[in-house]
């Protein structure tokens, strides 16, 4: 009886499960589940990787990255990639450089302006138009022109909102100004941009506008001097995506006048008219953004100038709970899910699921030394003295302390046991694929003897006698970071039991509070990770500058002592490399900087981050571009029948 019942239940369950797994669910629709969210659809506003997923797919740029290459480009709205060979990059005798972009014709936005019998313009979906309606399109209303390209760049720069859009300001001023705010304040010699007169604002606009000009069917960028990362910035989705001027004005955005731009400067997110609407030229259109349900639906643009995408729709949903995402992937309701690393091996063995692993990223992880730190009521440094119960505020100013810490870390164990052999040890600020990276450059390895030698020399031998107690910080929810600090903690204890490292996990807001907006940082040892925003190691957002410039991202967080070291030893070389546009001259300098970061033990460089994707096995076409941080370009994605 029991046997019969068991067989009956098995058969019943088999029938119940069969329909869920045997057929492709939602054919033509790609269901993308992630725990993240998109901030805005305005290319001039967004500043982080998840937000780029929207803009990347609904807008187009002058150039695109060539597949997974990070230093090679293919034409998009520009018909050619500028180079010295094709004459579209020209260097003048005064050192200025011009980049010319020939603009492709007949590119339409998703919605175009049709003039009615009453003379009013209504915006209609281009895909829905009849031939007769197409003939009534008002010229320039939804047709990308060189003027639209120029307008898009001016708008992103003048809006001054996102640090990534501000990178374009650095391009056109060749690094003279970091953003439009600085430009206005410096030009007008005023403390606050809010104090600027209309004349000053107009003057800055004219200066800017004179550097981005329209010449026939071409747009020309005139840079005062070479900026090697120019094309890399142009191919990113941030700020460089092209919008239609007439449409932006019609929805309440900037009209392109040099006298009104201040009204649109740094808007609040909800006040930005392009925040939740789009009218791009990309392969997908924003069909719905239900922010209550945290669901974004993208619909295929049939008239995309490179041909329609294979997918009809993309549904992006924010699903914070991993188990729910996982079950939806297994049942075929989801085609892609963001998965925790510890489940990769199990998922790779699951029928119907595909795991692509070990995808490179330009992102380095490390433990950052800070000095001098805030000595007032700071639990991170205990007593604040070298008495075994704390550390002095300038503890890491001693190079022997930094080297001792670096030799006390067990990198091999971390790579094998924590990262499961999926990535490599980081060799410094520049990672694989970035100029200056050399696979044979020196790296630290776990060496208790050498660590002890350095610790015995530190503070004239006093450190070894007294020992220390300090607290290191890691963002909560980052088990790999906690593991790295634990490995360091154990390494230090083995070298000298008087070396006591405590580990504290904190929310990001608290970590940020210890490092930012302070005269002195409140953390002497912090696990973090940063990656560059274009493939060139130099310039304001390059890997070498981020880590090694006194005005770089890391320098801003880890204290004046670190910044002084960078100013004295690293900045001259950074400037020398940036002044040249010849890779043969620049590469050895960046390689030397990489080596110097080892010699001076500026940071404990741990490992290069890596990416992976988990999809249904019938999904094909994903291209991992590490400078885009693996952002999903849905255009080449195909969903085959299972």
């Amino acid at each position: 009886m029991k046997r019969t019942l068991a067989v009956a239940i098995s058969i019943a369950l088999g029938f119940a499960v069969a329909p869920a797994t045997a057929q492709t669910k939602n054919p033509g629709t790609f269901v993308f589940l992630w725990p993240d969210d998109i901030q805005s659809f305005d290319p001039a506003y967004i500043a982080n990787t998840p937000s780029s997923y929207g803009v990347l797919n609904v807008y187009s740029r002058l150039l695109n990255y060539k597949g997974s290459e990070i230093s090679e480009f293919v034409p998009a709205i520009s018909t050619e990639v500028p180079s010295l060979e094709n004459g579209l990059i020209k260097q003048a005798e005064d050192g200025s450089v011009s980049y010319t972009f020939p603009i492709r014709k007949d590119i339409h936005t998703h919605k175009v302006g049709i003039k009615g019998s009453d003379g009013k313009i209504s915006w209609e979906y281009f895909d829905d138009l009849t031939a007769e309606q197409k003939s009534a399109i008002e010229p320039g209303y939804g047709e990308i022109t060189p003027d639209d390209v120029r307008y898009s760049f001016l708008r992103a720069i003048l809006m001054g909102q996102s640090w990534m859009s501000n990178a374009i300001t650095e391009v056109v001023t060749a690094g003279k100004y970091t953003d439009i705010t600085k430009w206005v304040e410096t030009e007008g010699k005023i403390a606050e941009i809010g104090d600027a007169t209309p004349e000053l604002l107009r003057k800055v606009y004219d200066q800017l506008a004179s550097q981005i000009t329209v010449e026939g069917d071409k747009v020309v960028f005139k840079l005062p001097k070479a900026f090697p990362a120019t094309l890399g910035v142009m191919a990113l989705p941030f700020g460089t995506s092209i919008v239609d001027k007439e449409w932006v004005a019609s929805v309440g955005g900037w009209d392109g006048s040099g006298d009104t731009w201040m009204k649109y400067y740094r808007p609040e997110l909800g006040d930005d008219p392009l925040f939740d609407v789009e009218n791009g030229t990309g392969p997908f259109m924003l069909e719905e953004w239900n922010r209550a349900d945290r669901r974004i639906t993208l619909k295929r643009f049939e008239n995309y100038f490179m041909g329609p995408a294979s997918l009809e729709r993309v549904v992006m949903r924010t699903v914070p709970e991993w188990t729910t995402r996982r079950l939806q992937l297994l049942s075929g309701d989801a085609d892609y899910v963001t998965a925790p690393i510890e489940f990769l091996d199990e998922l790779a063995k699951t029928d119907g699921v595909k795991v692509v692993d070990g995808l490179p990223k330009v992102f380095g992880r490390g433990i950052f030394f800070g000095w001098p730190v805030d000595e007032t009521d700071n639990p991170a440094i205990g007593s604040g003295k070298l008495d075994g119960k704390g550390i002095p505020p300038d503890f890491f100013a001693d190079i022997d302390v930094r080297k001792g810490f670096n030799y006390a870390q067990n990198y091999d164990a971390l790579l094998k046991q924590v990262l499961l052999g999926k990535t490599v040890q980081s060799r410094g600020p520049t990672v694989r694929g970035i100029m200056g990276y050399r696979p044979d450059s020196p790296v630290y390895s776990y060496d208790p003897k050498k660590a002890a030698e350095h610790f015995k020399k530190a503070f004239d031998g006093k450190l070894w006698e007294t020992g220390f107690t300090m607290t290191a910080y890691v963002q909560e929810g980052t088990p790999q970071g906690t593991a790295a600090l634990s490995a360091l903690q154990q390494g230090l204890q083995r070298i000298n039991p008087k070396f006591r490292l405590q580990i504290q996990s904190l929310p990001w807001a608290s970590i940020s509070d210890k490092l930012n907006n302070r005269a002195k940082p409140a953390s002497a040892l912090t696990y973090m990770g940063w990656g560059p925003d274009y493939s060139d190691p130099g310039g304001p957002l390059g890997a070498a500058s981020y880590y090694l410039s006194p005005t770089g991202l890391v320098g801003g967080m880890v204290g004046q002592g670190y910044r002084d070291l960078m100013t004295e030893k690293f900045k001259p070389l950074l400037d020398e490399a940036w002044a040249s546009s010849d890779p043969a001259v620049r590469e050895p300098i960046y390689a030397k900087l990489q080596k110097m970061s080892y010699d001076y033990a500026t940071t404990q460089f741990l490992w290069e981050d890596f990416g992976y994707i988990v999809t249904r096995s019938n999904v094909e076409g994903y291209v991992n571009n590490m400078i885009l941080y693996g952002a999903w370009d849905f255009y080449p994605i195909k969903k085959n029948a299972e």
Binding site: V17, N48, W163, N290, P320, A509, S512, D513, N517, D533
Partner: protein, 345 residues
């Protein structure tokens, strides 16, 4: 009665003011850089460097004194502006009103049958004290009570979604979602079950019920024990009352005595508990909503708190204060209906 209700409602602004002052005071114990996390929730946002961070703090007035920031916020509230939620990427008021129908739909579909079931089971357990019915009901409800919600919810998902594919997570299937977002479908309330019926679309109605089934069963089962036990105890006490004995002595049928005379009076404590339970559920059932991928107020409130999204936290706090005060009032007004001896002064 009306006077009483009016006076209770007048207390609402006072409660809301005290609550807002408390939450606002708590958030001011954080530094401006910590509070900036609401606008820069991930490290990516701070790549602009120290200048950018200082400007953001300036832009959002996070360095201003308490009274200025509070005054600004209260001023906005009085003009109907609850502020902007970075978590929801929309005004707090819009976020609350767009999420409320989903939570109400889930809560009422779970609450009403749950309450009726609890009353029924509690009464039976009281009537059949120490007999097999009582033991069975107690075992069944305590079993549910001892299950953490996330364990029971995940089990529900595993069995009814992963294995049987009956009750999927989310609010609608992809095809139904396409129908609901199409131009032909009119959104009357935001509740899928009601809107689909009003649009005459039965397939969407049934799809909506399919998606509601698992979270509703979870909510009913894990919340059943509390109310059932209160009902059972109350029933036991009522059955020992003199007037019940008198009714029996008068020769009334046992069923009439138990259901008409005893149960009605036994309901009083259950009404109190049920009011609190409903208020709690209307504040959002965070774990249930998260496990079943059901976007409602609970998920929103939890995410806002994790993001230190103060406008959203304050807005949600005010909403919850209204719910608590109103439901307490409703409970107070129900008492005299159940027991005429209870008078409102």
């Amino acid at each position: 009665m009306l006077n009483y209700a009016f006076r209770r409602l007048l207390m609402l602004p006072v409660v809301m003011f005290a609550l807002s002052l408390m939450i606002f005071g708590l958030q001011m114990s954080l530094t401006p850089t910590q509070r900036l996390a609401a606008y820069a929730p991930s490290p990516d946002f701070l790549k602009g460097g120290q200048d950018s961070i200082r400007r953001l703090i300036e832009q959002y007035g996070l360095n201003d004194p308490f009274y200025l920031q509070y005054g600004r916020w209260i001023g906005n509230i009085l003009t109907g502006n609850l502020g902007w939620s970075e978590t929801a990427r929309q005004p707090v008021g819009t976020a609350l009103t767009s999420l409320l129908p989903a939570t109400l739909e889930l809560v009422f579909i779970a609450f009403v049958p749950g309450l009726l079931l609890a009353i029924y089971l509690g009464s039976r357990a009281g009537i059949y004290l120490n007999r097999w019915q009582d033991h069975l009901i107690r075992f069944f409800t305590i079993f549910g009570w001892s299950f953490p919600v996330y364990v029971f919810g995940l089990l529900m998902l595993l069995i009814f979604y992963s294995v049987l594919d009956w009750f999927p997570p989310g609010r609608l299937s992809q095809w139904a979602q396409a129908v609901v977002t199409s131009r032909d479908f009119v959104r009357y309330t935001g509740a899928n079950t009601i809107d689909s019926l009003l649009n005459g679309n039965l397939p969407v109605f049934f799809d909506s019920l399919r998606h509601l089934a698992a979270p509703v069963i979870t909510l009913i089962y894990v919340n059943l024990a509390n109310m059932t036990r209160v009902m059972r105890t109350s029933m036991l006490e009522t059955l020992r009352q003199d007037y019940v004995r008198t009714a029996r002595a008068k020769g009334l049928r046992r069923r009439v005595v138990e259901l008409k005379h005893a149960r009605r009076n036994a309901l009083l404590p259950v009404v109190t508990i049920a009011g609190m339970e409903l208020a709690y559920m209307m504040g959002g059932v965070v774990i249930t909503e998260t496990i079943f991928d059901y976007s409602g107020l609970g998920q929103f409130a939890a995410k806002s708190a994790a993001n230190l999204d103060f406008p959203a936290i304050l807005g949600f706090g005010l909403y919850f204060a209204v719910v608590l005060v109103v439901l307490n009032l409703v409970v107070d007004l129900i008492y005299p209906l159940l027991d005429p001896r209870v008078k409102t002064r």
